[in-house]
Symmetry: C2
Subunit: 345 residues, 2 copies
């Protein structure tokens, strides 16, 4: 019988076994040295630490994760990292996770339910410490995720799941109130896809103050024109053009959008049409991405507390601060230069 030959390889990485041998102790002891708070003889501790330094030993997550049956990975599943809102979120999430000793695995769904499903499946195979997901509309993962492990949805809801998000309804209200207070009465709204709850909530919120004004006072009519688009620059530009085509008597004096990218697209459309912002047209965005304060004019927008969302999401998946149901964070109106009273005529 041939003894199976030990694979003769250059030691890729030293293992805990090598350290143990080098220090003349057992692997258990090395392990206890690594788990800082364990009781271990100072002399031995030092010897072990020396060997660790000498060999350049670095514990492998592979063995550790298998033993603990849990990895130190947090999965972040979002539609698209190039969307500044999600990029910002990813940055904060990663910073927080990293500080807590976890790493972030990034997956883009490109708004495709099937891709999302595949991504989630693959992620589950990694037994992640947690999953933070902004599910696509029509998501199929509710079932899969529900009975498995700590997951939290952000931004967009998934029925039966924990959610931490901005209070989009309130955000919509803020935008509308601001425009009404400035005196606008012919108002346009560029919404997101009506399949996403985010869009619907923002729009419904936006409608609120307008309807209230219509019903309680008699200050004359308020006109609201709503057109549906996508959450990107292009859509804002195209839909904006459509809204602004009407002659000056009927064209809105203010337009709110469902996110800042649309607003920036709209800004461009109005420039192309020779419509001045804010003199002829007021614009309110949503999100307050970094770019919002850099375009000209600087954009008035509804700020989402991205950092706070990231923070709560991390806390939630890491088990401190168990999240119950839905947490809705208060948005804030950031007044900049893109809104003003309507032109007098």
């Amino acid at each position: 019988m041939l003894k199976r030959v030990k694979r003769l390889e250059i030691a890729l990485y030293p293992t805990v076994k090598d350290v143990a041998r080098g220090a003349g102790v057992s692997v258990g002891t090395v392990s206890r040295v690594l788990a800082k708070n364990e009781t271990v003889n100072p002399a031995i501790r030092q010897r072990v630490e020396e060997v660790i330094a000498r060999l350049g030993y670095r514990p492998s997550s592979l063995g550790r994760n298998l033993r603990l049956n849990k990895s130190d990975i947090i999965g972040l599943i979002i539609p698209d990292i190039t969307n500044p809102f999600f990029a910002e979120l990813a940055k904060h999430l990663e910073t927080l996770a990293s500080a807590a000793g976890y790493s972030v695995l990034l997956a883009n769904t490109h708004e495709d339910p099937k891709a999302e499903c595949k991504q989630v499946q693959s992620l589950l195979g990694r037994v992640p410490a947690g999953i933070v997901i902004a599910p696509v509309s029509g998501s199929l993962v509710g079932e899969i995720l529900s009975d498995s492990l700590v997951s939290v949805t952000i931004d967009r809801a998934l029925s039966g799941h924990s959610l931490v998000a901005t209070d989009n309804f309130e955000g919509g209200r803020l935008a509308a109130s601001h425009l009404l207070e400035l005196g606008h009465r012919r108002i346009g709204y560029i919404s997101g896809p009506s399949t996403t709850d985010v869009s619907i909530q923002r729009l419904n919120g936006f409608r609120g103050p307008i309807e209230e004004m219509l019903s309680t006072r008699s200050q004359g009519a308020v006109e609201l024109t709503v057109l549906e688009g996508n959450f990107d620059y292009k859509s804002g530009e195209a839909i904006g053009r459509q809204l602004l085509q009407a002659d000056i008597e009927h064209r809105p004096t203010a337009i709110a959008t469902a996110n800042d990218q649309q607003a920036i697209g709209l800004l461009r459309a109005s420039r192309d049409l020779g419509i001045r912002v804010p003199e002829d047209l007021s614009i309110v965005g949503f999100d307050d991405i970094p770019l919002a304060s850099l375009v000209l004019p600087r954009l008035t927008t509804v700020r989402q507390p991205i950092e706070e969302i990231a923070e709560i999401a991390v806390q939630a998946v890491l088990g401190r601060g168990p999240i119950v149901g839905q947490i809705k964070l208060k948005p804030a109106l950031v007044e900049r230069d893109s809104t003003a009273p309507p032109p007098v005529r």
Copy 2:
């Protein structure tokens, strides 16, 4: 002696052992069923597959990775995911990696060498299939990375490492040639931090055509003013102001920047100062981020082949297409609306 009690837990996930028991075969057989191309009795294969479906078994990467001593993770270490260039890169990288069955781990260094070092250490503990890194200037990780595993640097070089990046020197040349051909002779340049090789290469490339013109022809002088900034909007705005403060006789008629964000900041500064682009001032950016074609005027810029960079990087770390030394990809000038001949006076 007390027999150690088997931990009584609700089965979190079924394992290959459960499947084997359910199908009345050995775990080895189940494994072979999963490794599609193995030779296995069709009847048994079907039986096993049924059980897998029934139990909802999903193989665990944890065990797999440990056994293979290699994880299916690609580490992506970049300065800042909110930088549109890196976001774009991350998106493409993730898409490609995902298609090849790998996942992307995201880490931001925030341009801090120590943070970077920590991130790399932690990543190495995961035995990643590869590392794609855009090292910070003054990076400490060269040593650590060199003898370990498949890594490739992107965008910025690390001495002694493989690199895939845009030919920044050539990119600088393109920008300068374009401005000279349009007839500009008083030119400004907003560079990135002089500590990064990217900045230096772009600037050196930019200087090339100008010096050639100075030496070979006698078309009169060309003036070049260079100021150093950071790779962000704010810096472009601030440095831009500085460059544009001079009176109209001495102020540059064209300014090139080291990236698009600076260019967009510069755009804003010139608007604030009442300087029209491109009539009074031509601007050339670098990168061609999506936003470049959305600002007004649309930005003339040097396009980096981001997608190609991502593709080559993935190929390299996954072992197909071994990368040797440095790969420099050709940039391309994208002419849009922010450049024009200088104002006649």
